[in-house]
């Protein structure tokens, strides 16, 4: 039979198919759009190798097939190779999400031998000056290019990720051309989502509608050219939901497919959920099966009986689940509310005013708050 289709609030719950292992919050870079919590420096406990191995085993037994190693920068964990072999042995498809810093050709090879399936290298821009300004590091760009090439040489698919914001969105054509030249298989053009540090820096990051429309037209035109040329390079353009009238179906529904384990073992339905005023269980205290199927944290927003109006009586609630809980919380102070991206939300004006601000924003990159331990301490919640 299938994995236990347990009942929570009359809702049948399937297995978590995706496991995200945030191995550490440590990172040599300082991206101002980092999705890590603002007070990450207060959570400096990390699970041990044995504890991570146990997390991987439990997740796989429950049905997880996709595994992400992320952070922070996962490469700072000395046991990464060991965790990769364990993941391969268990039958996961494992993805390493890295800035490329701390990577070298030998490690790329060694990880391939250990059974890593895919390495995603993230870039901040298509030219070195802008890239390095955004990443808060000088030598970052050349290193990233070298690593992107090493990844391909070692036989992995080449997946490049560019975080897009108002300071690099004009470079869309150059970015895609660079990826084409490198021979990328997948290119993610991900306009920042405003969580963590990016929410703090939203005004300085969010593109204007005019910028966005121009970029979208450029991506579509490029995609058509690739198709004509028979290229297999796939462009994935993630646009900011702040310009939508309906929210995204966040995580495909709360506690429906995704299970994130934070560096200290806190289990979360999404990597940002830590900000919510909800008690989330820790894998050092509860089995992952219990966490997934029975913990109050994971059951909190399953089903729809928690919904207030306008979602409660809305006929679209099965489609978007009322949007993102973190966004509702950040923008309205109450995570139960409809995601304000929705045109039906009484708080939709907060999105509209962010759009207006984006039309007039003038702040330069140097005015963004960079993600580092010093700035993080300013955000400690005591």
């Amino acid at each position: 039979m299938n994995a236990p289709g347990k009942q929570a609030d009359g809702v049948s719950v399937g297995p978590p198919l995706w496991l995200l292992a945030e191995l550490t919050y440590r990172c040599p870079l300082q991206c101002p759009y980092c999705s890590n919590p603002l007070d990450f420096s207060s959570a400096d406990q990390e699970l041990t190798t044995e504890q991570w191995v146990d997390v991987l085993r439990q997740g796989r037994t429950m049905g997880a097939a996709q595994l992400g190693f992320s952070g922070g920068e996962p490469l700072v964990r000395q046991d990464l190779s060991e965790l990769i072999s364990e993941a391969r042995h268990l039958g996961y498809y494992s993805n390493l999400i890295t800035s490329g810093l701390g990577l070298n050709a030998d490690k790329v090879e060694a990880f391939a031998e250990a059974g890593l399936d895919h390495i995603q290298v993230s870039f901040q821009a298509s030219d070195p000056e802008l890239n390095n300004a955004v990443a808060g590091s000088r030598k970052a760009f050349d290193q990233k290019l070298a690593m992107a090439r090493a990844v391909k040489e070692a036989g992995y698919p080449m997946v490049l990720n560019f975080v897009i914001h108002r300071h690099n969105i004009h470079q869309m054509n150059d970015i895609i051309a660079l990826c084409d030249k490198l021979g990328a298989d997948y290119v993610e053009l991900a306009t920042c989502q405003y969580y963590g540090w990016a929410f703090k820096n939203r005004e300085g990051l969010m593109p204007s509608r005019a910028q966005l429309e121009k970029a979208e037209a450029e991506v579509n035109a490029y995609r058509a050219r690739l198709l004509d040329a028979g290229s297999a390079m796939k462009l994935i353009f993630v646009t900011p939901d702040y310009y939508e009238e309906r929210p995204k179906a966040c995580m495909n529904g709360w506690g429906s497919l995704f299970l994130t384990v934070a560096p200290d073992g806190t289990a979360l339905p999404c990597h940002s959920a830590r900000i919510l005023p909800i008690d989330f269980p820790n894998v050092t205290e509860m089995s992952m099966k219990d966490i997934w199927y029975n913990s109050p944290g994971f059951n909190h927003y399953r089903g729809d009986s928690w919904m207030p109006e306008p979602c409660r009586s809305c006929d679209e609630k099965g489609k978007d689940f009322g949007g993102c809980r973190c966004q509702a919380y950040m923008l309205t102070g109450n995570a139960d509310n409809a995601d304000p991206v929705c045109g039906k939300s009484p708080h939709h004006d907060r999105i509209l005013s962010a759009r207006r601000a984006a039309d007039h924003a003038t702040a330069g990159i140097e005015e963004l708050t960079f993600r580092n331990a010093e700035n993080s301490r300013l955000f400690f919640r005591s």
Partner: protein
Amino acid sequence: MAKTPKLRRGFRFQWEPAQESYVLLYPEGMVKLNGSAGAILKEVDGERSVETIVATLEQAFPDAGPLAKDVEAFLQEAANQHWIEMV
């Protein structure tokens, strides 16, 4: 034309007990395959040609009748999706 299909690099095909089906895994993605898609992709190993695959499946499913058209159509679609390459 003796073409040989092979999974594109970065793609993995495997049985998932929790989903009771074959799946195709790739960078940050997963497709759950239906019965016939699973049965066809199971034969794709980069060594056997389309004809061999058709013959194998016809032998395994004698009641299904001639399969060449369906198998070729599916493989064409999988190639269009860039899941597989024809070499």
